[in-house]
């Protein structure tokens, strides 16, 4: 199958709708209503759960959704470095920059 520019435009337009719907509807719904306390208590754990899931996907899940049990040692080691730096410095900029430098060096070595 070959895509035309119209196909690409269609992907952008439909992509907009599937990206916008999940972002907009809950915000609109919950910010105009009294939110029950238990719901807030639940949502409190969403960021840490989602971020962990994303990190795990980046490091341990392949593009075809298989578990990467061997390899990726560079990413794992760099992650440990980032965790330690984040913990001590509490600085996002330092963590990201050191993380990038670490992964660049490690990917050359490993």
């Amino acid at each position: 199958m070959h895509y035309s520019v119209t196909d690409h435009l269609l992907i952008v337009i439909l992509g907009f709708f599937v990206a916008f719907g999940p972002r907009y509807i809950p915000i609109l719904f919950f910010s105009n209503r009294k939110i029950p306390e238990w719901f807030n208590d639940w949502m409190k754990y969403v960021p840490v759960s989602l971020f962990t899931a994303i990190v795990v996907k980046d490091i341990f899940i392949s593009g075809t959704y298989h578990f990467i049990s061997s390899g990726n040692f560079d990413l794992i080691l760099a992650s440990v470095i980032v965790i330690i730096i984040s913990y001590w410095t509490r600085s996002m900029a330092i963590s990201v920059v050191f993380g990038l430098v670490a992964v660049m060096l490690l990917s050359m070595v490993i």
Partner: protein
């Protein structure tokens, strides 16, 4: 008050957004290059960066176009991927109370994982952080993301980028966010559970739907354990605080009106 102390608002928000902008530059370039390789022209690359504004989604589009997937399949996979934004929106809505529909529309349109992470952290720790500040952080990231995508598209295949290395900028950003979130042993436990569930459900669903399912379950477990433990064993080790080496005073949740 804030204006007087820290200069104009754009500088206050840029101060929070620049590490993200820094991470976005190489990833945006890489994304633009990949979209170019997949046949997307520069104008459409700019449009998709503004209107979809999601690194994960744009990488997925590029990848699925090269495997010549049907358009409907691409859109369906995008929907699964973007479904997690419903959770982000739900958890941020409490801080956006009283904003008009127009504001919420523009806030939602340019919210994504990374600027959400920054804004969530700011809302929780800084009582002076306003929805308008949050929107500006979104716009900084949107600007840098779009510009670097367009430049990447123009460079095209002239430059070869190591995607694993570039993508780690975002992984590092999320790792930082996780570390900043982990304030009690219970949160640490939930983070570990979320990681294990994420592997399980992504292997099971073979899609990013696994992200949504594992987040829903892990966060709900956190809520259940917290309410059970605070009721039954208020002195439980699970509720112990984890040491913060910066020694910054904690802003109490009660101080911030939700």
């Amino acid at each position: 008050m804030k204006q007087l102390e820290n200069g104009p608002q754009w500088r206050v928000t840029l101060k929070e957004a620049w590490p993200l902008c820094l991470s976005y530059t190489p990833i945006g370039l890489a994304c633009g290059i990949l979209l170019h390789a997949a046949g997307f022209n520069t104008i459409l690359t700019g449009l998709v960066s503004v209107f979809v504004f999601s690194g994960g989604a744009q990488f997925m589009i590029a990848q699925m176009l090269t495997t010549t997937a049907p358009i409907l399949t691409i859109i369906l996979m995008l929907f699964f991927l973007e479904l997690r934004y419903a959770l982000l929106g739900s958890s941020l809505a409490g801080y956006l109370k009283g904003q008009n529909h127009r504001f919420l529309f523009f806030f939602a349109i340019s919210m994504n994982d990374e600027n959400y992470a920054i804004n969530y952290l700011k809302f929780v720790t800084d009582r002076n952080w306003t929805p308008k500040d949050a929107l500006q952080v979104e716009h900084w990231s949107l600007l840098v993301w779009t510009v670097s995508n367009v430049i990447g598209s123009l460079i095209g295949s002239a430059v070869k980028i190591d995607l694993t290395v570039v993508n780690f900028a975002l992984t590092a950003l999320f790792l930082y966010m996780i570390v900043m979130q982990i304030k009690t042993r219970l949160i640490l436990l939930i983070s570990v559970i979320a990681g294990i569930l994420a592997v399980f459900f992504m292997l099971l669903t073979k899609s990013t739907l696994g992200l949504v399912i594992s987040t829903l379950i892990a966060s709900f477990l956190g809520f259940m354990i917290e309410s059970y433990v605070t009721k039954r064993w208020p002195n439980s080790h699970l509720l112990y605080k984890i040491h913060d080496p910066s020694g910054q005073p904690e802003v109490d949740k009660e101080d911030i009106e939700i």
